[in-house]
């Protein structure tokens, strides 16, 4: 017990990362055929596809470690809302393009340093997923950052929209850095990165982008919480209904 983190702990931690990626992938998928340009449709779906791939490997690892024998599909399609442990930030409705990009900036600015640090995880599978995901996340961050700058430094309309979108999603970012007993055990065991240095890097990245965009950093101190304990906003249930509908209506079907 020198490490202090059990397989169950590692599984529970991997489930958080996997659910973050899965839920955001589903949200981005909603942009199919609705993007402002076809290039942007392709970009949002490519980002979603990267996240979906990350989720698949992470959820498969959860099933191996927690002893339940569940597959990635069992975990994605046959859990109810209260069993999902993603941060609320990723489940929020897309809103307009400005809000989607503001949310992507906040998530990717976290995932880049998080995955970079996770490449040193004591869990080999997590480290391996991170090795690929960090490179993908850099592209996602570039994309979101460039759009936030373009919209913030664009027209009155684009600036008003991205600014409003940023204000709406901002409070939910605090959950990315939340600590609890599980995370502490995983940090001590070298499984998970410490959230404190990640927050410093996140601040530096987000501040640099907002400065370039000419946008104010929101000052709200309201910090909704609960996602890691299965408490969600009203948005997640609808997302899961769509995500799980085919699998639940046709149990065991394959194609």
């Amino acid at each position: 017990m020198s490490s202090g983190a059990t397989d169950t702990d590692v599984a529970a931690y991997a489930l958080r990362l996997g659910d973050d990626a899965l839920v955001l992938a589903q949200r981005l998928g909603e942009w199919a055929a609705r993007g402002p340009t076809i290039e942007e449709d392709v970009a949002l779906l490519n980002i979603g596809l990267d996240l979906l791939g990350q989720a698949r490997t992470l959820l498969a690892r959860v099933g191996e470690l927690d002893g339940s024998g569940r597959t990635e599909d069992d975990l994605a399609y046959r859990r109810d809302e209260r069993e999902f442990v993603n941060v609320q930030l990723v489940e929020l409705a897309n809103g307009d393009f400005g809000r989607t990009m503001a949310r992507q900036l906040l998530v990717s600015a976290f995932q880049v340093p998080m995955y970079a640090a996770l490449t040193g995880s004591a869990d080999e599978t997590l480290a391996a997923v991170a090795g690929r995901a960090v490179k993908e996340s850099r592209y996602h961050l570039d994309h979101a950052a460039s759009w936030v700058v373009r919209l913030g430094d664009g027209t009155e309309e684009s600036r008003a929209r991205v600014s409003a979108g940023l204000a709406e999603v901002w409070p939910y970012a605090a959950e990315l850095f939340e600590r609890d007993d599980l995370l502490d055990r995983c940090v001590i065991a070298g499984i998970a990165p410490d959230p404190e240095p990640l927050r410093l890097q996140w601040d530096a990245t987000v501040d640099a982008v907002l400065t370039d965009a000419g946008l104010e950093r929101p000052t709200t101190t309201w910090a909704p919480t609960g996602g890691r304990r299965g408490l969600h906003t009203e948005h997640l249930g609808y997302l899961l209904a769509e995500l799980q509908h085919v699998a639940r209506s046709h149990p065991g079907a394959s194609w």
Partner: protein
């Protein structure tokens, strides 16, 4: 092939398996074919390292590897997805890069940052040419006067560019 399959024969078969998205490249050219072992029981083990997390070609490549070996008479094949170390475009062969260029896709250059875990402060400016990565030369006319149109293009691994000399658009295999 009733006898234990010969590793060199198996390798020659596998080196012909192509990528379903970019059929001019073999899985060996791409650098995703990592290892081949034949165990004493005659089962062939093939190690493949996925490219992007969500690359939809992976399942197809797995199936193609199995089918190619079955055609060569190998009965028992196990394809293992090896995730560590992560695949990088630096593993693409010189031959693969040349074939890409002839196919009309600008091959990847060397990756921008060499270190395994770069310090992540700030963000790289997204506009092409401003982040220190040289712009890819146009695969059609060779001009280096090119500009990025979209960082995410027809597949995860490519971006869309335009040549400002010959005005043709082209795909670029991104450094990864």
């Amino acid at each position: 092939m009733a006898a234990t399959p010969d590793r060199d024969t198996v390798l020659r078969v596998l080196e012909q398996v192509t990528d379903p998205e970019i059929p001019v490249l073999t899985i060996a050219d791409l650098g995703i074919l990592r290892d081949v072992r034949v165990d004493p029981g005659g089962t062939v083990h093939v190690d493949i390292t996925p490219t992007y997390s969500g690359c939809p070609a992976m399942d197809e490549i797995r199936a193609d590897v199995g089918a190619a070996l079955a055609r060569a008479g190998v009965e028992h094949v196990d394809v293992h997805l090896v995730h560590h170390p992560a695949w990088t475009t630096d593993w693409m062969s010189a031959d693969g890069r040349r074939k890409l260029l002839e196919y009309g896709i600008a091959p990847p250059g060397p990756r921008p940052s060499g270190g395994p875990v770069a310090l992540e402060l700030g963000y790289r400016p997204a506009l092409a040419g401003t982040d220190g990565t040289p712009s890819p030369a146009c695969p059609l006319c060779g001009s280096v006067a090119t500009e990025e149109l979209a960082r995410f293009a027809s597949t995860s691994c490519k971006s869309l560019w335009r040549c400002t000399d010959c005005h043709e658009p082209f795909d670029h295999f991104k450094e990864f």
